[in-house]
Point group: C2
Chain length 448, copies 2
C-alpha cells in the first residue's frame, strides 16, 4: 500500500478524552474513530488488525473441530423470556421495539439463540457432541463506556457453545477449548493465565477467565511463579489445574494453597472467559435428544468467549513503548514499513518503488511511505503505528546498495543488501504463517 | 470436512413458509435458520458462501484502490438530524433509545457516519480522491419481510462512499466502480445488467441499478439484445452507456430509443445500486477541504452498494435445478463432495479416507460424506447442497482403481483414475483463484 493513496489519518495531538494507553494510541495511529459514546468505526489499519485477530481465532477453533456460524445481532425478547433471563439482565441489555411493537433486543450474548437453533435440528444422541461458534457484534449498554475498545458498547466477540451428552463429554470439550485458547493467545504474542472463576453452583471448577499480563491491567492477579517458565507444550488443562492463579477478588493471602514467596503479582486484562453450565439453557428451552434406547437426554452445555475487539486494545496495552505500538507479527496490519527517506529524488524513488513491487510480488504486505515528508516524520509515524519491520531507503542505498532494516520491537538496526532484506522479511512472513500450525503440531493437536 | 462431524442440518420436507426457490433451498440445504421474522442465523455452509461472496467483493474493491473500514451498526440520531434524513426515513428505520434515553438507530445505510468521519480528517485537497467501503450489517424494518435473505430485515451489505474534488473526478470514480461491479458479479458466475435508475435532480445519468437475470426476478427488465454477446472486456462504462436497458417502471414501449425487435425481456433481481449525489451530504454536514489556494472546496460524493447477503439468494435463483442448488465454483462452500458409496466397507473406507486426506493436502476444500447412509441419500444430498464436483468412491474403485466424477452443473459423469481426479479438481481450484486476477489483467485494470 502506498501511503500517499491510503487512508491513515494519524493524529499529532494526544486526544484528551482517552485515559489509557491503548485508547490513545489507537486514536493517534488512525485505527478507530468514535461515532458516539462507546461505539467506534474501524479505520483501515484498525480493521486489518481486527481481521487478523479474527482469523487466528477462527483458524484455531476450526482446527479443533468447532463449526462457524453467524447469528443475528437482533433477537426476539421471547427467547429470553423462555430462558428466564429477560427480566434479570437489567439495563445493560439494549431493548428495542420494532415497527409492529414487538419486543426485540440487541444480543449481549447468544445462549438463547443457539439453543433455539439446536432444538430445531438435534434429534438423536448420534448428532453429538457438537460445538458451534461465531464471531459477531454484540452490544452491552455500559452505563459509562470508556477505555476505547476495551470497554465499548458495541464490540466484536467470539462466542462458542458446546453440546455434549453427559458431564464427562462436556468436560472433555471444555479441556479441548481451554487448551486451544492458550494456543490462540500465544499466536498473538500473548501469554494468557487462566484464572479460576466463579461459576455459581453448577460448574464446579469448570469456569476460567483468561488474563493477560499488562502494566495497565484492570485487576490484580496472583499466580504461581512457575507459570513463567512453562513451555507451551506444558500448558495443558491437567497441569494448569494444579497451578495456583486467582484474581484479586478471589485471592485470600491467609488462605492460599502455596507459599507467599512462590506467588507472583501482576496486573491482568481479561480477554477470554469459558464456562460449563450444564443443562441450564437446554432444560429451560426444552432441548432434548433421543438416547441409544430412545430415552430422552438433555444435552450439557458450555460457552466460550473471546473478546476479539477488546484484544486489539489488550495487545497494545501489553506491547508498546513511548513511541507507539509494537505489533506482534501475527496481527500487524502490515509486515513491512518501507520508508523512502527522500521522496522526489529520482534514484531513490526508483529503487524504493522497485523494492515495493518486489515485496508485493512475494506477498509481503508492505506499507510504502512515499509521501513528500521529512524523514523524521516518516520514522516517527512508522514507530507510532507499530509495523514490525522498517526498511529505510536512503543515500546509502544509492552508494552501497544497502537498506537499513529496523526491528520495531528490539530497535535493532542493520544495513543489509536489498536481496538479503527481501529474503529476511519473506522468511519472517512464512514463519508467521506456519507458526500456529507448528505450535499445534508440537502439542499433537488433532487436525479435523 | 467429514460430514459425520459436521453441522449440516438438511431438511427433507419443503418448508411451508418459504415462497420462493432460493428461500426453500437455503432452508432445505441447512444454510440458514430463521431467528425471527426477516432475521436469520447463518449455519456453516451458508456462512461459507456468504464469506466467499464477501471475499470477492473485498478483493475487487481493494484492487481498484478503495479502502476497507467498518462502521458500527448503531448510530446516534443526531447525525441524521444534521443531514435532514431523520424525520424523512419513516418506519423502515429502527429507532432505539439507549439507557440514557439518547436517540439511536440501527443504520440502514451510512452516508452520515462516513461523512462525519471524513470531516474530522480531511483538511486539504491533497487528501482526495478517496473511496472507503465497508461490508457490514444493516437493518431495515420491512413491514412484511419475506423471500428469506432476499428481503430480510437484518442484511449484509457492501456500501462504499467516494469523495472527489469536482464533478469530473466524481464521474471518473463512478465509472471505475461501475466497471468493477461487472467484474465482481462475473466472478460469481453472474451476468449483471446495469439499468439506469432515477437519481432525482442531482445525479443526471449517474445512477445505476445492477440487475441479474433470473426466472423468479422481482421486476421485468428490457434490454438491448447485444448485451448477451458482449465479452467482459467490452463491458466498459462508455459502451454500456449507449446500450438500452430499463426496468419496467421506466420502460415506455412507445418511447424507446431502439426498435422493439432488438429488445429482450427478462426478469431481474437487483443486486447492486450505485449513485452520485454531489454535495448533498458534504454540504449539509459541513465537510470542506482547502483547495490549492486555500479556497474552500466541498467534496462531491457518491455511494455504491452491493447486497452481499441478498446475493446468496440471488445466485441460487439464477443457478439451480429441480434437485437443488448449483453453486458457481467461486462461491461454493466446498469444491468437492466426496461420496463413499459404502461406508463400513473396510476397503472403501480406506480408499475414500486416503482421497480425502490428499484433497486436504492439496488445499482442495472437500466435504466427505462418510455417514452410514444409503448411496441414494448421499447423492441427493450432494445435489441439494450444490457442490460443483462430486467424487464417488464405490465398487469400481476397488476393482479398477477409478472414481466417478460428476459435474453438478452439466451432469456430466466420467470414470477416471484417482490421480487424474485429484489433478482435475486441483486445477479447477487454481483456476478459480486466479480467475479474478486474470479477468482484471485482461481489462488492464490497475493494481494498487
Amino acid at each position: 500500500m502506498r501511503l500517499s493513496n491510503y487512508f491513515l489519518p494519524t493524529l499529532k495531538e494526544i486526544p484528551a478524552e482517552a485515559q489509557i494507553t491503548s485508547h490513545r494510541l489507537m486514536l493517534r495511529a488512525g485505527m478507530i474513530n468514535q461515532t458516539t459514546a462507546g461505539i467506534y468505526s474501524w479505520l483501515p489499519i484498525g480493521l486489518k488488525v481486527l481481521q487478523n485477530i479474527e482469523r487466528i481465532v477462527a483458524e484455531e477453533q476450526d482446527r479443533i473441530g468447532c463449526h462457524r456460524v453467524l447469528m443475528p445481532t437482533l433477537q426476539p425478547a421471547s427467547l429470553w423470556q423462555e430462558s428466564g433471563r429477560y427480566e434479570d439482565y437489567g439495563k445493560e441489555m439494549l431493548r428495542i421495539k420494532d415497527r409492529h411493537d414487538r419486543d426485540m433486543l440487541y444480543g449481549p450474548t447468544n445462549e438463547e439463540v443457539i439453543t433455539d437453533i439446536m432444538r430445531q435440528y438435534l434429534k438423536s444422541y448420534r448428532q453429538l457432541p457438537q460445538t458451534l461458534y461465531q464471531i459477531g457484534w454484540k452490544f452491552r449498554d455500559e452505563i459509562r463506556p470508556r477505555f476505547g475498545v476495551m470497554r465499548g458498547r458495541e464490540f466484536l466477540m467470539k462466542d462458542g457453545y458446546s453440546f455434549d451428552l453427559d458431564y464427562e463429554g462436556a468436560k472433555e470439550t471444555y479441556k479441548k477449548i481451554f487448551e486451544s485458547y492458550l494456543v490462540i493467545f500465544r499466536r498473538m504474542g500473548l501469554t494468557a493465565i487462566p484464572v479460576r472463576a466463579d461459576s455459581g453452583a453448577i460448574g464446579g471448577d469448570l469456569s476460567h477467565e483468561f488474563q493477560i499480563v499488562a502494566p495497565t491491567g484492570e485487576s490484580t492477579i496472583y499466580y504461581d511463579e512457575s507459570y513463567d517458565s512453562l513451555p507451551l507444550q506444558d500448558m495443558t488443562f491437567e497441569k494448569l489445574q494444579n497451578l495456583y492463579a486467582a484474581a484479586d477478588e478471589k485471592h485470600d493471602p491467609n488462605n492460599c494453597p502455596i507459599p507467599a514467596n512462590r506467588i507472583k503479582t501482576a496486573r491482568g486484562i481479561e480477554i477470554g472467559h469459558i464456562f460449563y453450565f450444564g443443562t441450564k439453557y437446554s432444560k429451560a428451552m426444552k432441548l432434548e435428544v433421543a438416547g441409544p434406547n430412545g430415552e430422552p437426554i438433555i444435552p450439557e452445555m458450555g460457552s466460550y468467549g473471546i473478546g476479539v475487539s477488546r484484544l486489539v486494545g489488550a495487545i497494545i496495552e501489553a506491547s508498546h513503548d513511548e513511541n507507539g505500538i509494537i505489533w506482534p507479527e501475527s496481527v500487524a496490519p502490515f509486515q513491512v514499513g518501507l520508508i523512502n527517506a527522500k521522496t522526489g529524488d529520482e534514484k531513490l524513488d526508483s529503487i524504493a518503488g522497485d523494492i515495493y513491487q518486489k515485496l508485493n510480488n512475494q506477498k509481503t504486505e508492505a506499507l510504502y511511505d512515499d509521501r513528500a515528508e521529512r524523514p523524521g516524520v516518516k520514522f516517527s509515524n512508522m514507530d507510532l503505528i507499530g509495523i514490525p519491520w522498517q526498511v529505510i531507503v536512503g543515500n546509502k542505498t544509492v552508494e552501497y546498495g544497502t537498506v537499513e532494516v529496523k526491528n520495531r520491537q528490539t530497535g535493532e538496526r542493520s544495513d543489509i543488501s536489498i536481496e538479503e532484506c527481501l529474503n529476511k522479511v519473506a522468511k519472517q512472513y512464512t514463519q508467521r504463517i506456519s507458526e500456529g500450525l507448528q505450535e499445534n503440531e508440537n502439542r499433537g493437536a488433532e487436525c479435523i
